[in-house]
Amino acid sequence: MPARDAVSLPNTEAFENIADHHIVRNFVGGLRMMLNDRTTAAYFWILVGITFLGVVGPMLAPYGIEQTQYSETGQILSAAPPSINHPLGTTFAGYDVLSRLLVGARPTVITGLLGGGLILTIGTSIGITAGYVGGRTETILMRFTDFVYGVPLIPFGIVMITFLGVGFLSSILVIGLILWRGGARVIRAQTLQIKQYPFVKVAKATGASRRRIIIKHILPNVAPMAIFFLALGVGYAIMLQASLTFLGVASPFTPSWGVMIRNAFNSGYMSQAWWWSLTPGLLIGITVLSTFMFGRGYEDLITADSESVEADTVAA
């Protein structure tokens, strides 16, 4: 279009191209529709807030996480209840709970994003490949998925971590390597359905390559479903990481919220110093709840939107 060509600034041009790209446009469009729903918007902003905490939390922390707090009389503030100086109290070792929470937001967010991202990537790749390519490839991939379904998660995590070594990242890896299974199945089912639509047949008849059909037609049409699984994956990853940490098979040195609960439990002061484990527990709960509810909001949205290809699958 001549009008746009007249804008010669290369940067704006590039930016417009990105904004114009159909994946970005569909993503932004979908998000905007979701935020029209107030409940979904509320959960969305909670998630944005937690992500924000993950970025700036450590800078906001008033004390160091391993800085022992002393009372005015010079005694260690061991498991002190909330006060003005320490609004969320202190731990048994005299650390400030609020600071630990703020610093702990970052590992939680990283767990969610990395774990969810891993689940999304593996699940979508396997699902689309199996669904679109079909035949023997599909059989092999889906039987493998069935096999992974049979793997009990926590025992597998414990075994894997003894191989990979106890660590923060290895616990995320273990989660990602298992939890893609649900997404793979659903996305395969959707791909099978989309593959049968006339618009895919027309593209094939026009000579579109397999790659082109997957990228331009299948992917954009399964993308909303994939994002739904991303949301679920983020929630599951955070929850599971907390479980693994609590069981002691994830790194106790990364001060995540799961580690806080574990420390509180191990100290034997859990019932007296309720503030120590309650707040991280609540935060994990809120985060996971928000991701699930955000996903659910999406589900409602596409079920209502009858124009959308995926409406039938989700409704079924």
């Binding site: 159909h22 006339p198 047949k201 124009e307």
Partner: protein
């Protein structure tokens, strides 16, 4: 290109699907039964020609189309495009074929990607075949399909288009590469009647303007005369009649075409006309065998010489024989419904009740009764032999196609000239 090479030649095209086999079939080494969706279809599309293929749902017309665009593998015969058979296509031939043969599907609501704007959908074929000048071409094609002004439509998504507008975009997408051949699968049947006419007229004009040829597939004979000069009537995977549209509409020769033509609605409640009676539904196209495929439903099925039988009664015998020879009789069910499942006589009577309505007399009745007793005794082969001996029809040997008049092919024995050809040479007359 040599002048006498036809644009597209469909030569005895065959698309059979194998019915899925289970482990028992494998163990017993049973031959998988074949679904003969398209079976021995031949016709030729010349440049600037428009040919229609007509038939009821399930007759194989959509399979024919999907085979023609190469989405199904051919199982027999060939499709020859500008002299090159599809079985010899290399990658470059396929690319050329895919840019020159475009398809319009029936369902406008799903033939556009819901995530793409009109502009993106129209540009996709151009990008695939690396054609330049895309903006202008897209603009032009939108004008051509009467979506004006094009600016208003470029950035819309299918969600914001009406059914007619969607189908116009789909037509535009098929035309944007300026193809030689358009394959249209009931392009207007899902539109409102008010939109049908205008879209159809536009399609017809555009095919002329773009210098393309068209194969138009439909179940609706009434729209065909707008579009095509030649009609092929298809029944159970085969073409039963092929002639210029006017001829078939005026004087259909094949009993099946006759039934189709007489089913075209006439918008006049007082109009009185003789309707052709057609009973039952088409068989499943599985293991069909030789001869005319319409014979078990045909009101004009030809009895053997020397047998005096009422036409309706004879058709019933044919339908019964068909089910018997294909082992399709619902014997289990009929027996279960009896008061006394052991009573052979009642069983034979119940089968009779299921398949025969009228009374027959003389030798005919004796043969049928004897056959029914055989069936009741479980001896199906004896029953089949008995019936075949008396009732075998010439329709069981009807060739694929008979030239009734010049340019008028009918697969019906009524037009089979026994003086000119003998029954044995029907294999050669399949052209």
């Amino acid at each position: 290109m040599a002048d006498d090479t036809p644009l597209l030649e469909i030569d005895d095209l065959e698309k059979h699907f194998e019915q899925s086999t289970n482990i028992l079939d494998l163990l017993l080494r049973r031959e998988p039964s074949k679904i003969q969706a398209v079976d021995g279809v031949s016709f030729t599309l010349e440049t600037n020609d428009s040919i229609a293929v007509i038939g009821e749902s399930g007759c194989g017309k959509t399979t024919l189309l999907l085979t023609l665009i190469g989405l199904h593998d051919i199982t027999g015969g060939d499709v020859v495009y500008k002299g090159t058979p599809m079985s010899d296509f290399d990658d470059a031939d396929w690319k050329e074929y895919r840019s020159n043969v475009q398809v319009i599907f029936q369902d406008p609501f799903n033939s556009l990607d819901p995530k793409m704007t009109v502009e993106e959908s129209l540009k996709e074929p151009l990008k695939i075949h690396d054609v330049g000048n895309r903006d202008e071409r897209v603009y032009q094609v939108l004008e051509d399909v009467e979506l004006r002004p094009p600016e208003q439509y470029l950035h819309r998504k299918p969600m914001n288009l009406s059914g007619g507008e969607k189908q116009r975009v789909a037509i535009g997408r098929a035309l944007v590469l300026e193809p030689d051949i358009i394959l249209a699968d009931e392009p207007v049947s899902m539109l409102d009647v008010s939109t049908q006419a205008s879209v159809l007229r536009m399609l017809k004009d555009l095919i002329d303007d773009y210098d393309a040829s068209m194969i138009y597939i439909s179940h609706d004979l009434s729209t065909v005369s707008y579009i095509s000069e030649t009609v092929n009537v298809m029944y159970l995977g085969r073409i039963v009649e092929s002639a210029p549209t006017e001829w078939i509409l005026d004087d259909p020769k094949h009993p099946y075409s006759e039934a189709l033509v007489s089913a075209i609605p006439i918008p006049d409640p007082h109009h009185d006309r003789a309707r052709t009676e057609m009973s039952g539904a088409p068989r499943d196209p599985i293991d069909l065998g030789e001869g005319c495929r319409f014979r078990d439903r045909c009101p004009k099925v030809i009895p053997p010489d020397g047998i005096d039988v009422d036409q309706e009664a004879y058709r019933e015998v044919m339908a019964f024989r068909e089910a018997l020879e294909r082992d399709d009789l619902p014997l289990e069910r009929i027996r279960k419904e009896l008061d006394d499942p052991g009573d052979q006589e009642a069983f034979a009577a119940a089968i009779r009740g299921e398949y025969f309505s009228g009374e027959m007399t003389g030798e005919n009745a004796t043969t049928v009764d004897a056959a029914l007793d055989d069936v009741a005794d479980g001896d199906l082969d004896a029953a089949a032999d008995r019936l075949r001996d008396r009732f075998e029809s010439v329709c069981e040997n009807t060739p694929l196609s008979v030239e009734a008049e010049a340019d008028w092919h009918v697969a019906c024995h009524q037009y089979y000239d026994h003086d000119r050809r003998t029954k044995e040479d029907h294999a050669i007359t399949t052209d």
